[in-house]
């Protein structure tokens, strides 16, 4: 299985490196947020009570990285739909290769891609905007982002394989991800000091809020149990569920 996973991983890596423009396009959006939205935050954070501790850049940068993971990993299913259309999926499925490997090779590549993009964004925030964050914390956040990417890509592949429709897929992904994104407080953290009670309550139910919180804690160097525990548990549980879901879908006879 490891060997098959590696072969699939390498195939996707080769394809990505053949068109590295996709990597750059993926980075563009968070970069625009940094440049065009970040400076606004700087003022707002200092003059508004209720923000979590840390400078505006330590609040915004990890959130943008997580947003990137949300966007790129959830749309991973698109490439699978193309593979289905081209018959690639079927061709791989008649080989004795492990079905789980066909999934893992792809999601690991998604994880690595997101981490690479996240590093670019972090470096930019560090060089241009004077972000200051501990290396250990940044690494922790990168790990969170990688796991999140694997989680969401698995789910995305499972949905794509089940739906098998290139029109319905983006519509579904958008309608699910939009509220998730807003409710996870990525641009403006949803805290008790800023949000009305009902909004705060809903945002706490959203698992991704806790993951964003953990990512922010990493960037400000807060390794306390209080800051990381909920997020890590949520992430590990979500990842297990989604990878299991994806693997089961890949194993299913018609997949």
């Amino acid at each position: 299985m490891l060997r098959d996973t590696w072969l699939i991983f390498r195939r996707d890596a080769t394809l990505l490196l053949r068109n590295p423009a996709w990597l750059a396009i993926g980075v563009m959006q968070p970069v625009l947020y940094l440049v065009l939205f970040g400076p606004l935050m700087e003022r707002i954070v200092t003059s508004t009570p209720g923000f979590p501790p840390g400078s505006s850049w330590t609040i915004l940068t990890p959130a943008l990285i997580i947003q990137l993971a949300l966007f790129s990993a959830t749309t991973a299913g698109f490439s699978l739909l193309a593979d289905l259309r081209n018959g690639v999926v079927e061709r791989l499925r008649v080989t004795p290769a492990s079905r789980v490997a066909l999934l893992l090779g792809k999601v690991l590549m998604n994880g690595l891609t997101t981490v690479a993009q996240a590093i670019i964004i972090t470096i930019l925030a560090f060089l241009v905007f004077g972000l200051s964050a501990p290396v250990g914390g940044i690494l922790l956040t990168l790990l969170i982002v990688a796991m999140l990417s694997v989680t969401l890509a698995s789910a995305s592949y499972a949905v794509a394989l089940t739906l098998r429709n290139e029109q319905a897929f983006p519509a579904l992904v958008n309608s699910v991800m939009m509220p998730v994104l807003l409710l996870s407080g990525i641009l403006v953290p949803i805290t008790t000091g800023l949000a009305p009670d009902w909004l705060y309550a809903i945002s706490r139910i959203n698992p991704f809020t806790h993951i964003v919180d953990a990512g922010r804690a990493g960037f400000r160097g807060d390794f306390s149990v209080d800051a990381l525990l909920t997020g890590s548990i949520v992430l590990v549980v979500l990842m297990s569920l989604c990878v299991f879901w994806g693997a089961r879908t890949f194993r299913r006879e018609n997949a």
Partner: protein, 346 residues
């Protein structure tokens, strides 16, 4: 016959979607011996592809059992996969992948080492006239080249049994003739056993030792192309004569031994006779003796289309092209289970 590479009994597949069930394949028995080239002939939606997908482990049968390449389809699908090759109807290469990459990946997924996969790939690209295309992206290949690459991928692990789903659909006539040559060579030079589906009569006729005719999910006939054609009683003959002597001409034809299904239209006499080629000279002499002139004559050997017509009462060409109820049913039934991805990108 020797060893059977396919032995299927009562293979059945039912699709259920939106409360509707469709029996795409209603229990078929298939025996294919080592070294045979067997064709699975039927109109679109007859259940060819569904049967093939079951035999290649892509679809679990609703009922029935099969031994494929010596392994049990249900108990050991992985064992079956390792021993068969499958060339799908629409191909299976990524457009942005290089030819060499796809070949190596395929070989390694079948368990070959890197060097072995590359060496075997080189051997196959040479055999299939794909030399020199290694570094090309598959999207830049011609239709015929891409189909030959699909075949190379299906043969990378030197399987003894290879399945082809509609191997020449969408190819131009030259590429089709060329592909037929390659398929024949596979059998004659490498002893590969082949099972292919087609809705082209010419293809089944030109390639196959034996044909299974499937219609509405059931095998309705089986035999060599000649044996199947012999089921249609004789050659069809059409004579052209002057309008005013049609009746007289028909009387003469009626006297020919074995002539039957005699019909006339002004200036035309049609009939069937066991051997058209030997019946005609005698007929010409009889016409001469009566001072009648024959304007034209046509003798047609029975085709598999005639066979299909005799067996099902429908023409294969009509039922194949008309988007008939069968294929609509199968497509609808497929919806829930394996929705076709639209061919245009979103």
């Amino acid at each position: 016959m020797g060893v059977f590479l396919i032995k299927a009994r009562g293979l059945q597949r039912r699709f259920t979607s939106r409360g509707r069930t469709v029996d795409a394949v209603k229990g078929v028995d298939i025996d294919v011996a080592e070294g045979e080239l067997v064709g699975f002939l039927g109109p679109n939606g007859a259940g060819k592809t569904t049967t093939l997908r079951m035999l290649t482990t892509l679809l679990t049968p609703t009922a029935g059992e099969a031994q494929v390449a010596g392994r049990d389809l249900r108990a050991d699908p992985v064992g079956v996969r390792g021993r068969i090759g499958y060339v799908a109807q629409g191909g299976g290469t990524g457009p942005e992948c290089k030819v060499a990459e796809e070949i190596e990946l395929q070989g390694r997924l079948y368990g070959l080492g890197k060097a072995d996969a590359i060496a075997r790939g080189r051997e196959l690209t040479e055999q299939l006239d794909l030399s020199g295309l290694d570094q090309r992206l598959t999207k830049t290949l011609s239709g015929g080249q891409r189909r030959r690459l699909d075949i190379a991928l299906g043969l990378i692990h030197s399987p003894k049994l290879v399945f082809f789903d509609e191997p020449t659909t969408g190819l131009d006539p030259q590429s089709r003739a060329n592909l037929w040559e390659h398929i024949r060579t596979l059998r004659s030079e490498q002893g590969v056993t082949l099972f292919l589906t087609t809705h082209y009569l010419e293809e089944a006729d030109a390639l196959c030792d034996r044909i299974l005719v499937i219609d509405g999910g059931e095998i309705v006939a089986e035999g060599t192309p000649d044996a199947l054609k012999a089921r249609v009683s004789g050659d069809s003959v059409v004579l052209g004569v002057d309008d005013d002597v049609t009746t007289r001409a028909a009387e003469i034809v009626g006297g020919v031994e074995g002539a039957h299904e005699l019909t006339t239209a002004p200036g035309e006499v049609r009939f069937r006779v066991p051997r058209g080629d030997t019946a005609l000279p005698a007929l010409l002499r009889a016409f001469d003796a009566e001072n009648l002139t024959m304007q034209s004559m046509q003798v047609q050997r029975p085709t598999l289309d005639d066979v299909f017509l005799t067996l099902t009462g429908r023409s294969l060409r009509d039922s194949g092209s008309g988007g008939d109820a069968d294929s609509a049913d199968e497509a609808a039934a497929d919806d829930g289970e394996r929705n076709e991805v639209p061919t245009h990108a979103a």
